[in-house]
Subunit: 654 residues, 2 copies
Amino acid sequence: MVNTEQSDKGQVFKSDSSSSDGFPESSRSSTPGPDSDRLHEKMRRRIESGDKWFSLEFFPPRTSSGAVNLISRFDHMAVGGPLFIDVTWHPAGDPGSDKETSSMMIASTAVNYCGLETLLHITCCNQTKDELSRHLHKARNLGLKNILALRGDPMGDEWKVEEKGFNYASDLVKHIRSEFQDYFDICVAGYPTGHPECDSYKEDLRHLKAKVDAGADFVISQLFFKPETFITFFKDCRAIGITCPILPGIFPIQGYHSLRQLVKLSKLQVPQEIKDVIEPIKDNDAAIRNYGIDLATDMCKVLLESGLVPGLHFYTLNREVATVEILKRLRLWTEDPRRALPWITSANPKRKVEDVRPIFWASRQKSYIYRTQDWDEFPNGRWGNSSSPAFGELNDYYLFYLKNNYSKDELLKMWGEELVDEKSIFDVFTAYISGESNSHGEKVTCLPWNDEPLALETSLMKKELEKVNRMGILTINSQPNINARPSTDPIVGWGPEGGFVFQKAYLEFFTSSENVPILLKVLKNYKTRVNYQIVNVKGENINNAFDLQPIAVTWGIFPGREIIQPTVVDPVSFMYWKDEAFALWIERWAKLYPAGSPSRQIVQDIHDNYYLVNLVDNDFPFENCLWQVIDDLFKLKASENTCASMTCDVTVRP
Amino acid sequence: MVNTEQSDKGQVFKSDSSSSDGFPESSRSSTPGPDSDRLHEKMRRRIESGDKWFSLEFFPPRTSSGAVNLISRFDHMAVGGPLFIDVTWHPAGDPGSDKETSSMMIASTAVNYCGLETLLHITCCNQTKDELSRHLHKARNLGLKNILALRGDPMGDEWKVEEKGFNYASDLVKHIRSEFQDYFDICVAGYPTGHPECDSYKEDLRHLKAKVDAGADFVISQLFFKPETFITFFKDCRAIGITCPILPGIFPIQGYHSLRQLVKLSKLQVPQEIKDVIEPIKDNDAAIRNYGIDLATDMCKVLLESGLVPGLHFYTLNREVATVEILKRLRLWTEDPRRALPWITSANPKRKVEDVRPIFWASRQKSYIYRTQDWDEFPNGRWGNSSSPAFGELNDYYLFYLKNNYSKDELLKMWGEELVDEKSIFDVFTAYISGESNSHGEKVTCLPWNDEPLALETSLMKKELEKVNRMGILTINSQPNINARPSTDPIVGWGPEGGFVFQKAYLEFFTSSENVPILLKVLKNYKTRVNYQIVNVKGENINNAFDLQPIAVTWGIFPGREIIQPTVVDPVSFMYWKDEAFALWIERWAKLYPAGSPSRQIVQDIHDNYYLVNLVDNDFPFENCLWQVIDDLFKLKASENTCASMTCDVTVRP
């Protein structure tokens, strides 16, 4: 009736449970079993369950601003749930280097910072064995687990066999298997109409068989224009004993010129009926794109209905619209609001057990990943299990995956071309929270600590946040308390179905040094209900943390699982975060203004004199008391000011 | 305003928090900081906070049944919260051996199985350095952390200095410090009237100073009869520079003969006014004991009021009544219902991080500790963190700390002198749950799986449990669901104040193989809401555990802390527990009857054919559905029986 497997103890375990963890298998990593996070294993499970997937191909950008845009495209397209993405190898672009536009670095960013299962192309022709090994070792060290092994294009016009060199992709596959055993999942390319340089279609099929026999796990096909082309190819592959998954490469026609260029490179023939449609509309980009979408959608439908195709591979040309539209029409684009954890997990295998992070980096997740990239172990289950954290210095504000998309001018419009006083700063924070325009009529859609507009969850507390920011409680992170909401809740839910999620209310803000002693007086009344930590840029640290222990502030209880507590307030890590939080005042904001300018000085003064405060309300089942704390602070401040002025009055009078 | 300490990062941490974890410091261990679980550190904190303590001295028993009784006395007296207990060294009783009556084994049991901070006496005279080292190494390996270093009594009447031997307790202290550095906390004895063999009181004080200078952490005094004796002694100690804690040894007079014997051994003079009271009532034990209680209570009051005494040490003579009465009168006996964790933590230092256990051993905690004694690491935070568990075999049912106090006759009266059929067994389970007498008029206060009467918590579900046991759902473990009850709740609370505790409903029972397929049909309707595992003695294992992951079934959320989840249902450990659970049918029950007897066969048949089932209701915020599951089982069973008999009727008719 059910699968049986032998346990260590030699006892039979029958299990009714499915091997999936209740999430659609996608490029975003989730808590995996020993081998279950291997790409070919994910494919196997999806094939077994009949759950079709898609994957997305990108090429490395030419410029560093192109890199920033591509990374944010990864983030956008990750939402639809690709099984993996792949990044082409660009021999002319120093593809294995540390340049931010290199194939290697783009693929590494996709894995590590965007949490995407990523397949890196590598070509072997014109490269020595040592060079290839260096690339492969580097890829492994960066956390890449999948390689698309290609021969590559010849340097000259004609391709010549090199003695002792890598002449075929199968040589590269063999080399990877002999040097890295099973570490990498390997993909190879298949040519539905035969490789253009091959003598015959049949011989090319034999080449493909040789590549698979050398150790490839799956095949992605070159583009084609008619579904029959692929279906014939697929059947021919099966006939000669190629049993692994074979994925059709879909090329949505997105413009006249890109089609021409691709055809030239791939030496493919565009069918006459397609030419007949395109030629008359060649100057109408929108019309061509719409045609391309219709054409590809129809082709994909035929392929999926054939029952031969478990997933579709898209040549995106680094563009979003056409591919997303096709996927939506095919109902393969599934914006599942459910997340495995409240934050985006990295796909680097060494981080696969990671399931706890400090809440401080909630809006700067890439920075957190960067600052912890050298850790050997990642916290699993408990934060406290990881020995005292060593965060890398963050002086690398130029790193492209930490950049946002805004120009200096745009930032100045949002944050003020000229600041008059602290109040100008309060107004920027308030405008960011409220979503209303600032005094110059500009919407404030980011802050130095938050590259994105206010999270949906945060907007649950918009009214209160707006009120306190107006008074100089400059909030940079917060969450409401949540008591046993279903894990499927569209705003605060995460984790598998059937669970319950919880949060302690959290508030983190900058405030003036004048407010701190008053806040401390107020906090005394809240005793252990409220945990607080108050620090300034010099590292003065006032807190009521018990034994400097971390506090779980987000957790979930699920069927058949241990408790997951993905975010904590860790008093030790907070000291590393505060370095970053204070530095952002200068790096992102003050430096927009000329040295010596009054505007720059205003930001500098806040950086030098303000305190960064975090508050946790431990009584999560009751109404969040943190707003009351702030209210008490201003009431006490007002009464002290009144007393002070009264006293003053009294003493002045004779 | 507050303490400041340097963190690793060189930043100043100011903390308002106290170093205690909100629990009165007692012998039961709790989650500790790096050194905070050292006995002298606990004393330091109690002295700083002015929180007086008490400690209890026991001697090793002569017989193995005496050992069983002493261990259960430890468990009773642990309830009052002693800071530590100590076990005397009995040179004539092979004190360092593995005998269950040896000083070493009694002390080890107190630490490991009763969770008591324990001080082991060791005497050095007439022992070689090697012998002493062996004892000390063994003590360390067993998890003992505190030694009371004594010279011991001479073998003959007079004591002679031995060349190269250990002649003074200070030699032993030096030896421990040189061989074990700071591993042990060391206590030494002080003699308020001078050691009987010492030339003068002053010289004896110098000896004490030498022992402390050699590395002792604190002093326990010999008994005395008047508070002034101790107070003078204390001041004299301080005057010559003994600065460590000095605890008065309190000897409650409990009987005429024990007093005479003690006086003979200790060569102390009983003051005339005490003799005058005692002599006339020397045959009236109760009168003497009452007098002893009054006398000791008065003396303790004077000592405590002197402000010199941070804690009181009681020579219990292995008895409970007098000492407990005195402590209650002094209000030092504090039966704090709060527990650090739902189960009793072991005081062995290698288990100090342990905070997760499978729920299965809830009523057999000593067995769990025994079966995991060889583990090098204990689960902290998560069960899953501990790699696949290796449980020791449990063939050692004779082990004294696993024994209960009942005789074979008592057990037969409770569980039936003669069993008629399965129903006789159902009745025993039902009587245990209901607390009502069995058919022979006997109360059933234990079962093979439960040495104690029903837990308070379990009685919350008494009505439902009684009903299902009557029908052959033979429950051996269960807990109700709990949703955010205060951690101070007297029945289900645990952990520090200000927290909230939670439970998933759990039910574990034996039932007939006939019920299993019906139960499985019923469980299908509950989908992921109910996790189940159903096994028989041969190891057949039917479950819907996801990936064989453990399920947290008890957890707590506290101020300023990560989440604690002290009990889990772990499908892998369950296979080890089932060996024990099934074996108990035979070892504890079947073997009460002669081989070949029908009664024995009835128990044997259940052992061979029944299944052990565990059920978890994951929807803890809603009403426990497990009773509904059982109800559904019997309804379906009834309807299937009806159908079956109707079908039968039809086929029989012509």
